[in-house]
Amino acid sequence: MKGTLVRSIGLVVALLLSSAGIAEAHVGTGGSSGFLSGFLHPIMGLDHVVAMVAVGLWGAQLGKPAIWLLPVTFPLVMALGGFLGLVGVPMPGVEIGIALSGVLLGAAVLTESRPPMIAAAILVGLFAIFHGYAHGAELPLGENALFFSLGFVVGTGLLHAVGIVIGLLYQWPWGKVTVRVAGGAVGVVGAVFLWNAIA
């Protein structure tokens, strides 16, 4: 936590020193550091990164309407998880849940499984709540809550976009293989984290 703060202060100072000029002088610097730390938050944890890319991959694999339902609803469900974390609702086994969802999502992409929409939504929704719970509530000291949330939500959304863009390869035969391999890789990373979480 302390390291994050020092780093973000360094970032602010660097940003400020590099930006001069009347027009830029009012740019909210506290904001940019809060945004940045929020933005970097979901990107820094590998377990989150791979699981969210997997969500995007799966969405692209399942096609319409999952492909567009996903980016619209995921942030909201994730924020709900963050909300639960913020108001202090206890949730045991968050790390295990995140790792497990990584394994399951990866396996789903690898095996091209097409469960009913409801089942897919519940799996992704659970993961969204875990993800939000684990990281949405970690506001670094002295940052603006809204800027941090904004960065956090945008960072998460862009990770999905990465998954969806990779998933667009699915329309070609070689792309199908690529997507499935990527899903397998996600499953492996999830399994490693699951092992660490349990052990």
């Binding site: 020092v6 202060i9 360094g10 100072v13 400020l16 020193l17 001069a20 000029g21 009347i22 027009a23 002088a25 009012h26 740019v27 909210g28 610097t29 506290g30 904001g31 809060g34 002295g142 603006n144 809204l146 800027f147």
Partner: protein, 304 residues
């Protein structure tokens, strides 16, 4: 020369602010605002390096969320170049950053370019009269090609006079000049009315000629802004170029924004209510007339 700490609208973040204005050679007014939190003051003080000394002791003023300290400082030699301001108390809080600023004795060409470019942008955005004239032109031009010609003519014209006036070839007293600029805005009001009524006139057929003619006037106005800023000895053309580019950048941004807004309103089918279609014309003409009267009175007052 001003050094300022940026301000953010955010709630928990209360930045400090430092401004230094030169009042005469070797003399500067220093304004230092520190935020307060529940009545407590941010524990940061200013310290100037030798041989800067206070002419007046710091005078403090309490605002709801901050304390503002004003003082006048003096340097015996060439100015603040190479001097350093330390922020006492900041070292303890922010270790890795730099708790002082230094006024570089010889700012690099890039820094100087940025300063003049920024002040060009600043000047056009501050100059509501220039923007209003451009806005008036946008109401008059009827096609893209005409728009391009008109804006280019205005740009070329004010660049010419800005250069001529800055290089000291021609000098125009400020008061009559300002009155003339205001008159140029007032002139556009009736033209916009004519456009709306479907009538035509020389201006509506050839807006670029009018833009060029009045652009010559506006260029003198920009020049007064540039000379007020102070010019580097030896490299005036470079400063002039950067300032001019800044003015054009600000003007293009304004034109782009207005055109985007026009297009947006057209697609949403928002129109001015019946009976108020001439509002833009009256706004441009009315403000032009107000400034004309205001500035003529100032001019006559200056003569008397």
């Amino acid at each position: 020369m001003v050094s300022l700490v940026s301000h953010a609208g955010a709630h928990e973040i209360r930045p400090a602010y430092l401004q230094i204005d030169q009042s005469s050679p070797g003399r500067y007014t220093v304004t230092w605002r520190t935020p307060t939190l529940s009545g407590m003051r941010l524990p940061v003080a200013l310290r100037f390096s030798e041989p800067v000394r206070n002419v007046t002791e710091p005078a403090e003023r309490n605002l709801p969320d901050s304390i503002v300290e004003t003082r006048i400082i003096e340097t015996p030699d060439v100015g603040l170049s190479g001097k350093r301001i330390e922020f006492v108390g900041l070292q303890a809080t922010v270790k890795p950053s730099q708790p002082w600023i230094e006024f570089s004795a010889n700012p690099g060409p890039f820094a100087a370019a940025r300063v003049y470019f920024a002040s060009g942008v600043h000047h056009i955005l501050m100059g509501l009269d220039h923007l209003l004239f451009v806005l008036g032109l946008l109401f008059i031009v009827r096609s893209r090609w005409m728009l391009f010609k008109t804006i280019t003519a205005f740009t070329v014209a004010h660049s010419i006079t800005l250069a001529v006036a800055t290089l000291g070839e021609v000098e125009i007293p400020a008061l009559p000049l300002n009155a003339m600029i205001a008159l140029s805005i007032m002139f556009l009001g009736p033209e916009i009315v004519r456009v709306w009524r479907g009538q035509t006139s020389f201006t509506i057929r050839h807006p670029w000629i009018v833009a060029f003619a009045f652009g010559l006037l506006h260029g003198f106005g920009f020049a007064s802004g540039l000379t007020a800023l102070g010019l580097p000895q030896g490299d005036i053309p470079f400063a002039l170029l950067m300032f001019n580019l800044g003015v054009e950048a600000g003007q293009l941004a304004f034109v782009g924004l207005v055109l985007l807004l026009f297009a947006a309103l057209k697609s949403i089918e928002v129109r001015l209510p019946r009976g108020m279609e001439l509002l833009p014309a009256y706004l441009v003409g009315g403000l032009g007339a107000y400034w004309t009267i205001d500035r003529v009175v100032a001019m006559l007052g200056g003569l008397a």
